[in-house]
């Protein structure tokens, strides 16, 4: 089944005078999950979802189906038209995306071996991680996923675009005998680049170092944030700072053209960069543009979908989500510029501070001030006199990110690709040192609750 042909076949069923857009996501995904050093969940799914957006006389309707037979296409178009017929007219609806000149047919980031991965390959990777833990007296949990996805978009204005990409991701949390934990992740378009042995060794090493944590009083400390922690902060900046809708509505924690972070911070979004997990087009069929979000601390550009670009009078940047989208545009290929400090030297110069490997359950406390809260997880370490002194119990932070990112005093020269747990955002980021981070609480010693 060729997705763009199905989408075109749906649009061919529109009444004369209607305009429309059809997008189809075809997906084969599998995930092997392990816990307690055994595979306890092992799943595979296949689906293709067609989304039809129809507009007539300024009235828009959207209908979705995974019935892709001729009758299914008739039904979904009729359903979208029915909604449009009853919808309220928009005074100035955004136009459909214009065709880029010639059709887009990208396979940037498509690796055949990843698409063809079988359950045996995932199970073998899980076994390797489990064995790495067992060798150190640890219990491993985690997930090894492979996915092949094709996105195709066709509209009545002549746009035809498609992109197919693959992704493989292996994560693990290891548990020690006293409950200490360590984490590692590897993500790539190419299954062969997932080094299960390295993932297991990294998690085992952090776990071993996290044993016997002590209590630390909350307060403001200098911190070294590892790449997993930095990536999670960028994930939330995608919502709070980099969305054209948040900017338009005055909810963003940055102001375009104004200094947002320290001058050593540069962040951009680029769906075409193979150093990430590419997404060459968005859900409106627009070719993704590089967006220089933060350049040397200055909030320079923002991401747009069709609606926000139309209202702002600027070109789309290729960050539209599936219709109907009231959420606004989203950056999901983020990059933060590396610095010149060797990663291993980030703790140097910290008299008394903390090394945070990873955050947990981060959430927005105040979007306009850019305040987040969350916990540390899977290894939090006290730094004394420039060296890691030992593990501490997990801490809660409540911190303004613009304030923190204005106090970054060192950025690692190395960067790492990190896939977000919840949103699918993939970021390439370095570890950083920040001169002040506000820890507002600590978890309890469970023996005392």
């Amino acid at each position: 089944m060729v997705g763009r042909d199905v989408a075109a076949a749906a649009l061919a069923r529109l009444e004369p005078g209607y305009e429309g857009e059809a997008s189809i996501i075809q997906r084969h995904a599998a995930l092997t999950r392990f816990a307690g050093s055994r595979i306890h969940q092992n799943v595979a799914e296949e689906d293709a979802t067609l989304r039809v957006r129809i507009r007539h006389n300024g009235r828009t309707g959207v209908a979705v189906t995974n019935r892709l037979s001729p009758a299914g296409l008739e039904e979904v178009v009729a359903r979208a038209a029915l909604i449009a017929a009853h919808a309220a007219a928009e005074a100035d609806p955004p136009p459909l995306a214009e065709p880029p000149g010639e059709s887009v047919d990208s396979d940037l980031g498509w690796i055949e071996a990843t698409a063809a991965a079988d359950p045996g390959a995932r199970a073998a990777g899980a076994r390797t991680v489990i064995d790495a833990g067992v060798a150190c007296g640890l219990t491993a949990s985690g997930a090894f996923s492979t996915e092949a996805q094709q996105r195709s978009v066709v509209n009545t204005g002549g746009l035809v675009a498609s992109h197919r990409v693959t992704q493989a991701k292996l994560v693990t949390v290891m548990h020690g005998p006293a409950g200490e934990t360590g984490y590692a992740q590897s993500i790539s378009t190419d299954l062969s680049k997932i080094d299960a042995e390295a993932v297991g060794e990294e998690a085992a090493e952090w776990t071993a170092r996290a044993a016997d944590p002590t209590d630390l009083a909350p307060g403001e400390y200098p911190v070294v944030l590892g790449e997993y922690a930095v990536a999670e902060i960028l994930e939330y900046l995608a919502f709070m700072a980099f969305s054209g809708l948040a900017i338009e509505e005055g909810r963003a924690c940055v102001e375009l053209g104004q200094p947002a972070f320290g001058s050593n911070v540069t962040i951009w979004d680029d769906g075409q960069d193979p150093a990430g997990v590419p997404t060459a087009i968005d859900f409106e069929g627009v070719t993704k543009q590089r967006v220089d979000l933060i350049s040397q601390g200055l909030a320079r550009q923002t991401a747009h979908d069709g609606a926000t670009a139309h209202r702002a009078g600027v070109p789309r940047t290729g960050h539209g989500l599936p219709a109907p989208n009231t959420f606004g545009p989203l950056c999901w290929n983020l990059f933060m510029a590396a610095g010149d400090t060797p990663r291993s030297s980030l703790t140097q110069g910290v008299e008394r501070g903390l090394l945070v490997t990873r955050f947990h359950y981060v959430n927005i406390v105040h979007p306009k001030k850019g305040i987040l809260t969350g916990m540390t997880r899977d290894g939090t370490f006290l730094i004394e006199n420039g060296a890691v002194a030992g593990p501490v119990r997990n801490l809660r932070f409540t911190q303004s990110i613009p304030d923190a990112f204005s106090r970054i005093s060192a950025i690692a020269a190395e960067s790492r690709l990190v896939g977000a747990d919840y949103t699918g955002i993939v970021s390439r980021v370095p570890a950083v040192r920040i001169d002040g981070w506000n820890f507002t609480g600590a978890t309890a010693n469970e023996a005392n609750v």
Partner: protein
């Protein structure tokens, strides 16, 4: 459809599965959003597919597909068996299911007015009237009114002989008003935040909400919050409004009583639980007045059904009784670990997904403190916190921090002024141990939470929480630097 179930089960068992179940789901959903006086989104979704879950040599395999035909059923069943065989490669003990007897029957969500039979014009009328009501507040920046409905037809069969049919209906609505100035953005929502109020039931629930009747009030409150003083910091008495109690129950009782979490099965993603198996029946979770149960039979609950996705019948079981931790949410695989039979909380978010332990309707039973007004009148000094704004809790479900949209200081039994950006934090059993009053049945509401995330691949489930306003002593309020 029943042929497809038989065909898939035969293919699975014929390929070596000792156990197989098949679930076919047809899902229909509709959503509407009116924003700032315009229809911002109107969509209708339909999706159908099936899943086969098998046990081969004590290891799980699962596969799903949208192709609802005999050939696909056999192909997917054999794929599930192949996946199960791969699961054995990692070793480990064999899975053993509990002895739940196979059931047969049909169950439907009770409702008065089918939400899919209500015209689009009528739904839009309700939303545009609510939008207009919010627009009457001077200074409001953004207005949004949303409505949704879902219907799910679900067929389940197992190699043990279970044959079940369910027709589940839910719908909901909500409004949110946002005020923005140079320094602040403030929101007020009704009936609650995070997607509004959603019930397992019919359109009568949306009519009863009277969205337009609350629009102007919440919008005026959002504007007033821009200039309200910052919430003070310190330890104080807190009263949580009912919808905030619901999210508190969700995060600090619902998730930690999931037995798969306690057993480490979610360790790499959502985390584990401080309510370890050795604490069952011997751990003080809260004060004597704290009683929390998981009731899949509750009228109107988003976690209400006839059977879960393992074919276990809906039940009401206690989780916390008189402050003692007495029960878990369980599945057929996990319940034997604590020498019990599944209480029926294994559900999948869609046909694509594997059933996981999910909350049903995890609810705080009402107390004896009367109405919210009664509870305020009984409080000398403190703060009333209303409508969730942010939430976070550690991976063991101990240290939590919540933000609410609004706070009202309480002095001498009366509300004494609004404060903005309130937050509170605590340690779960200490917090529930400080609960000294819960409002009565008249103040109790069955809330719906339609966006509970769990599992890999992540599944978003609809769950319910009954709650009434409750009072907690010596709570840390006003966290962070403002």
């Amino acid at each position: 459809m029943n042929d497809l179930i038989e065909c898939a089960i035969d293919a699975a068992t014929g390929s070596g599965a000792a156990y197989a179940d098949v679930r076919i789901v047809e899902h229909q959903a509709e959503s509407l959003t009116v924003k700032n006086g315009s229809l911002a989104a109107a969509s209708s979704e339909r999706s159908a597919g099936f899943a086969v879950r098998v046990l081969v040599d004590g290891a799980w395999g699962f596969a799903s597909s949208q192709d609802l035909d005999r050939d696909a059923s056999q192909r997917v069943a054999r794929h599930a068996v192949a996946i199960a065989r791969a699961s054995r490669l990692a070793g480990g003990p064999a899975v053993a299911l509990d002895d739940t007897p196979p059931a047969a029957g049909h169950w439907s969500t009770p409702y008065v007015e089918d939400p899919f039979a209500v015209s689009l014009e009528e739904k839009l009328r309700i939303l545009f009237e609510a939008d207009a009501a919010m627009a009457r507040a001077r200074g409001i920046t953004l207005r949004e009114a949303t409505m949704e409905a879902a219907r799910e037809r679900k067929l389940f069969g197992s190699s043990e002989g279970a044959r079940l049919e369910q027709d589940l209906v839910s719908c909901g609505a909500g409004i949110v008003a946002t005020a923005v100035n140079d320094q602040e953005t403030q929101e007020r929502s009704y009936p609650k935040s995070l997607g509004g109020q959603v019930v397992g039931g019919g359109f009568e629930a949306i009519r009863d909400m009277d969205l337009s009747g609350h629009g102007q009030r919440i919008a005026e409150e959002a504007v007033a919050l821009l200039d309200a003083p910052q919430c003070p910091s310190g330890e104080m008495t807190v009263i949580l409004e009912a919808s905030q109690v619901a999210i508190q129950v969700h995060e600090s009782c619902g998730h930690p009583t999931e037995l798969d979490r306690a057993l480490g099965m979610e360790a790499s993603f959502a985390g584990t639980s401080f309510l370890t198996v050795d604490r069952l029946d011997r751990f003080r979770y809260g004060s004597d007045i704290v009683n929390i149960d998981a009731d899949a039979t509750a009228p109107g609950g988003l976690g209400t059904f006839g059977w879960d996705d393992e074919g276990v019948s809906a039940q009401n079981v206690p989780l916390v009784s008189g402050g003692q931790f007495v029960g878990y949410l369980t599945s057929r695989e996990t319940a034997p670990v604590i020498n019990r039979r599944s209480m029926g909380s294994s559900r999948a978010a869609s046909w694509r997904n594997l059933p996981l332990i999910r909350m049903t309707n995890v609810s705080l039973r009402p107390g004896e403190a009367g109405s919210l007004d009664d509870l305020i009148a009984d409080t000398d000094e403190g703060i009333l916190l209303g409508t969730n704004r942010s939430w976070s809790i550690d991976e063991r479900r101990l240290n939590f921090q919540f933000g609410t949209q609004v706070g009202w200081l309480i002095r001498k039994g009366k509300l004494a002024g609004m404060v903005r950006n309130p937050t509170y934090t605590g340690i779960t059993p200490r917090f529930w141990g400080s609960c000294d009053a819960i409002c009565g049945p008249g103040a109790w509401t069955q809330w719906g939470e339609p966006y509970c995330g769990k599992g890999e691949p992540m599944q978003t489930a609809s769950v319910g929480h009954g709650a009434a306003p409750a009072r907690f002593r010596n709570v840390q309020v006003g966290v962070g630097q403002w």
